[in-house]
């Protein structure tokens, strides 16, 4: 069953001591957990920021007790200034997109499970892997540091549009040091993700164990591989963009600032720069980034669904092909973020076509999930519920994408809450549901303990209903013409929207509070949960062939040999209705 290969050598010896074991660890599993912990801290930070914003939107005159402790200038007398609202919004977006939606589904789960799923002992460059996490950690610290410098964090949003992001403090509080810290943080983050992508790609291509052909990789491994290819090319473009932005700030260059620009009655000492250049560079990264967040979740959801349906998807190959074409097309659609930027209208048309085309592979994937679910006896547990929730969010958020993809309609809807509702559902909430599905599914393997299923199901229903209560009204507001990035709606003619904003705020507070159930479940189960068996979900892929949690070198010195694809469910196997990938027993289909 197991190959005693002459290559059965360890990359590195088991570490000794707390620091090498848990802090500067070379072990991909520890690094995966570190990424998860970072994402957890980040997601709760980002959530609290959104609470503060929502409170202010619902009740603009409300003093939020203690807010002045966060910023005396931004919240004098605990009342949020419009500038501070934008600063919180910038930090919310940046933290969530980079440090949650990129780190959790891709870096955290991918680090932990990709090497095990391909049958390797570790990633090929463990030192780079360790650096990848610590560099990302430093990026997070640099970003948070923006809260504590004079002027506070930047107010230019997570997209940091030039020229106001490039001219310095004259553009508003936080646009000086805060904006430089922001750009430095993102540049550092890029380095971390490039190092991670290097390891993910080489692990998938070169460290697969005997018998593990590419087509025998689980869909989650495929998703991480495809994502790492996107990460490699996308972050390699954002990095130089951030460098140029920093130079405009600190060295007086004029990459992004045009001539004769007057900001706050002051003529800027720049000339000839291109404002649109930043948008081009940023969105060339920014749109693939959307898929960097969602494709790993697609892989996780496929993996979870197959296991709980006890049968394969209608076609795994088509899912792989669709995810690949999404990755490929994601580079051709970025201009749809710039329809109203002043770009040549013809360019808008050119970017509109691939945007509509990219919905085809996304729809194919969704139809395969739904078609496979049809008639299956799905095992209902927290993981499978969140996987279903993912599909629901992805479809609901995706449908509004059809409208936004067309320049003529986008002119109306651009910069309204319709857009905010769209991307929160399709990218943020959907990816978060993917992360939850992955957490409930893999927690037993990661920690050796089971999570509480009852709490998990309560968490699901509150989150599911809550997310719709928050983000569906956004679309309604958007159609009414309610613009985004405004701190408060106090004018007489805006009164009709205020009630909706109050409702959304209450929904956000309740849904946010429901996440504390998850946090409690996570921490309590980690220490006092029921002990997890090796294969609690009766799954077929390699991570379930090793103890929970896996030993230091994953397979205890042995090299698994793979005989099947990971979809051998609903068959007669020696252990039940499934055959493990590394089991030599014959499968009926012969795959």
């Amino acid at each position: 069953m197991h190959d005693v290969s002459p290559h059965a050598v360890h990359h590195h010896a088991p570490p000794q001591g707390f620091i090498r074991k848990h802090v500067f660890s070379l072990d991909h599993k520890v690094i995966g957990k570190q990424y998860y912990a970072l994402a957890l801290v980040a997601v709760f930070t980002g959530m609290v920021l959104s609470w503060l914003m929502r409170l202010h939107l619902g009740w603009p005159a409300l003093a939020i007790p203690g807010l002045h402790l966060l910023s005396k200038v931004g919240a004098p007398g605990d009342l949020m200034t419009p500038e501070y609202y934008l600063q919180l919004m910038t930090m919310h977006g940046t933290i969530m997109v980079f440090f949650v939606l990129t780190t959790a589904p891709f870096a955290a789960f991918g680090n932990f499970f990709l090497p095990i799923q391909v049958g390797a002992e570790d990633m090929p460059f463990p030192r780079f892997n360790m650096m990848s996490f610590w560099v990302t950690f430093v990026a997070f610290v640099v970003l948070i540091a923006a809260f504590f410098v004079g002027g506070g964090p930047p107010l230019s949003g997570w997209t940091a549009y030039a020229p106001l992001s490039a001219v310095g403090a004259v553009a508003g509080p936080g646009q000086g040091t805060g904006q430089v810290l922001w750009a430095a943080s993102i540049a550092i983050f890029c380095v971390g993700q490039l190092l991670g992508s290097l390891n993910f790609i080489t692990t998938t291509l070169d460290l697969r164990t005997k018998g593990m052909s590419l087509m025998r990789l689980p869909l989650s491994a495929w998703a991480w591989f495809i994502t790492s290819c996107m990460g490699l090319t996308a972050f390699a473009v954002l990095l130089p963009a951030c460098i140029l932005l920093i130079l405009d700030h600190v060295a007086g260059t004029s990459f992004f600032v045009a001539s004769n620009l007057v900001v706050n009655d002051q003529l800027q000492p720049h000339s000839g720069g291109s404002t649109l250049l930043w948008q081009h560079l940023f969105w060339f990264f920014g749109h693939p980034e959307v898929y960097i967040a969602i494709v790993p979740a697609m892989g996780i959801v496929s993996h979870v669904l197959i296991t709980n349906m006890r049968r394969p998807l209608l076609s795994a190959k088509v899912i792989i092909a669709s995810m690949t074409s999404i990755a490929f097309l994601s580079y051709m659609v970025y201009g749809h973020h710039m329809f109203v930027s002043g770009m040549n209208p013809f360019s808008s048309l050119v970017f509109s076509f691939p945007t509509l085309i990219i919905t085809i592979p996304a729809t194919i994937i969704t139809l395969i999930w739904i078609g496979s679910l049809y008639g299956s006896k799905l095992r209902i547990n927290s993981a499978s519920l969140f996987a279903l929730g993912f599909i629901s969010m992805f479809v609901s958020g995706g449908v509004s994408g059809f409208f936004l993809a067309q320049p003529s309609i986008d002119i109306m809807l651009h910069a309204t809450y319709f857009v905010v509702g769209h991307f929160h559902l399709v990218m943020a909430v959907a990816a978060i549901f993917g992360i939850f599905a992955g957490t409930y599914f893999w927690f037993p393997k990661m920690t050796g303990r089971m999570m509480n299923e009852t709490l998990g199901k309560i968490h699901f229903w509150l989150s599911f209903v809550g997310a719709y209560c928050i983000f569906m009204p956004f679309h309604y507001l958007g159609i009414m013409g309610n613009v985004r990035r405004y701190a408060e709606f106090v004018d007489e003619y805006l009164q009709p929207v205020l009630g909706v904003h109050k409702f959304i705020t209450v929904a956000a507070l309740v849904t946010g509070a429901a996440q504390l159930i998850f946090l409690y479940n996570l921490i309590h189960s980690r220490f006092w949960g029921e002990k997890a068996p090796e294969n609690p979900w009766e799954a077929t892929s390699l991570e379930w062939s090793v103890p929970s949690p896996p030993p230091f070198d994953n397979f205890g010195g042995r090299h698994p040999v793979v005989y099947h694809d990971p979809y051998q469910y609903g068959v007669k196997g020696s252990k039940g209705d499934y055959i493990m990938q590394d089991s030599p027993e014959p499968s009926p289909s012969g795959d």
């Binding site: 002459p6 290559h7 090929p124 790609i201 080489t202 692990t203 972050f235 390699a236 130079l247 720069g273």
Partner: protein, 222 residues
Amino acid sequence: MATTVHEPPRGKALPDSPQTGHGSGGLVPESGRMRYVQDDSSAASRTGIWVVIAAITMTFAAFTSAMIVRQGASLDWRHLAMPRILYFNTVVLLASSVTLEIARRRFRSFVIGTESERAGVLRALYATLALGLLFLAGQYMAWLQLKADGLYLATNPSSSFFYVFTAAHGLHLLGGLAGLLYVIRRFGRSALRRGTLGAAAHYWHFMDLLWLYLLLVLWMKL
């Protein structure tokens, strides 16, 4: 460093040879003497270096497109005379690639036992290192020359891009120098793998190509 088990090793396998701790188990060179770890399972290093090259290519493609857009954005672009030392630097960098290839050849013959001198390999590696440092010093001279002409980072977009391009390339070349130092250290400890040397060499040659490309772009645009 890397292990593959799905590809048969490409050396001669001795069925009873004891395992070494470096992933070279069962592999012996043609001469029958195992003097240096010759690891043919370094597929990940080979793939890895191409992955790195892909990422760097994307970065410089972004810089280049930024330059083209910026040049077309307004009429303030002033062409600057390229410092002549750049051409000398180019020759130095190309020479360093030649010495690195010599080091690789010598290493190969050293491993299979047809050459007994390790000093020959080291000489070529140190020569590469020295030429790399000379190139960087030359680039610094070019900066000084620009400075003497009153062209600073923010003087004109053309000088901005000159500094950005040369600095970005120089930083990447520093990475290559670190790689060379690592190779020399591993060689000193008799633990150098062909894959590692190959990866370092690929990276170094790519730095050459990248510089030739940048020189062309700078010459055409600045």
